[in-house]
Amino acid sequence: MKRFEMTQLFALLGINGPDLLLRSYGQHAFPTLEHALKEVPPGQALLLDFAGVSVMDTSFADETVLELALGLSQDKYGDRWMVLEEPSPATIDNLEGTIARRKAKVALLIRKEDQMRLIGHVEPNLMEAWQLVYEKSELTARELADQLGLEINTASMRLRKLYDARLLARREEITPDGRQHIYMLPI
């Protein structure tokens, strides 16, 4: 896991903080954030630490966090993840609003006081699967199928979608029955 303190952007943008505002400033910040994400070793997550940031407005969020999230879900950054740590309630409102108004099919991982949650666009059945993985720490498709009374293919598809959206990580395991994926949170 690599941590990026969002307050570092204040110096880059020539502002005093504590806010990250405006589309043009977001456009200026994006290459730095993208570089930070690309520097994360494959299989690990970039933790965007919002401590010290009071508000990120919708325009700034649209040009930075949402753009990175869309890139992750489109496999632009490979096997990497992004987690937002301690964004303020106003920032979360703006992120949710940005996703909703742009009608973007993307969700974000939020960590607040050591609790993880998802915001944004997540289908209810995927949210249910994600919540189970979060509660159990690790889950296979077979275990999810048993928990929810699903066909194994359906369970496998749900977990795969969450992985493709970079909302879950996974590792491969070889068992006597063959190969299987074990799904977990990225941090």
Binding site: D19, L21, S24, H28, S54, E63, S88, A90, N94
Partner: protein, 232 residues
């Protein structure tokens, strides 16, 4: 951002000098109206508006010409709002968002400079923070027409399109600002009132009221009431 954009401070100074028609000069009060309302004298925000940059009571008329001004007004507003609200930071953050989104529309879309001011009204059970943001630029109808062509027959129609996410920015991004402003203002129990050219839209918790037969006035003028309730 400094050094990356083309000298924002210089742009703003030029902007202040070139937009004398935006404010009323203090001199010549007894002269004819056309001579007293407008002036082409260079703008000095402190002398001409009698502003106190250290006031913790009210954000007096503050000119918005470049993006840098928005960060400045947000910082000043934070200072004043902290004095008003103490530690209720969520309300402060929401008001900063209201300022940021409205003022960025001036810089990005009006083609002109603008002005913002904030005042506080103590009510029985809440505090109303009123924000007034205005410019004399191209207005919402012309901004949207430049990108999308004619999408409505009325000025009100264009305002409503903007509220619903139609952006004066080409491409899929943008158009979220006014919607966010409406959400924050009405969720607080306050309101958003937008007037542009001959139309106006008033959005409140109870619904939306429109008016489309106003006298023509250039640009866009926005009045926002944000209602801050004491923490119980």
């Amino acid at each position: 951002m400094r050094g990356e954009l083309s000298s924002p401070r210089e742009e703003r100074d030029a902007c202040h000098s070139n937009h004398g028609t935006l404010y009323s000069g203090k001199s010549g009060a007894g002269e004819r109206e056309t001579e007293t309302v407008y002036t082409t004298d260079p703008f000095n925000s402190i002398d001409d508006l009698s502003r106190s940059t250290s006031s913790s009571n009210v954000l007096e008329l503050f000119p918005i010409c470049v993006h840098e001004d928005i960060y400045e007004v947000a910082a000043r507003a934070r200072y004043i709002l902290a004095n008003w609200f103490g530690s209720t930071s969520h309300d402060i953050n929401n008001i900063v968002i209201l300022l940021s989104e409205t003022c960025s529309n001036i810089v990005d879309h009006s083609g002109d400079a603008g002005i913002v001011t904030i005042q506080k009204y103590d009510r029985k059970r809440c505090i109303d923070v009123n924000l007034a943001i205005g410019d004399l630029g191209r207005g919402i109808r012309q901004s949207l027409m430049a990108v999308h062509g004619a999408v409505s027959d009325t000025c009100t129609g264009y305002i409503e399109q903007a509220l619903n996410g139609l952006s004066a920015r080409s491409g899929e991004r943008g158009g979220q600002g006014l919607g966010a402003i409406r959400r924050i203002a009405t969720e607080s129990g306050g309101s958003l009132h937008i007037r542009s050219e001959m139309g106006s839209v008033l959005a409140q918790t109870s619904g939306t009221t429109t008016c489309d037969d106003l006298y023509f006035f250039p640009g866009t003028q926005i009045a926002i009431t944000f209602r801050s309730k004491p923490v119980t």
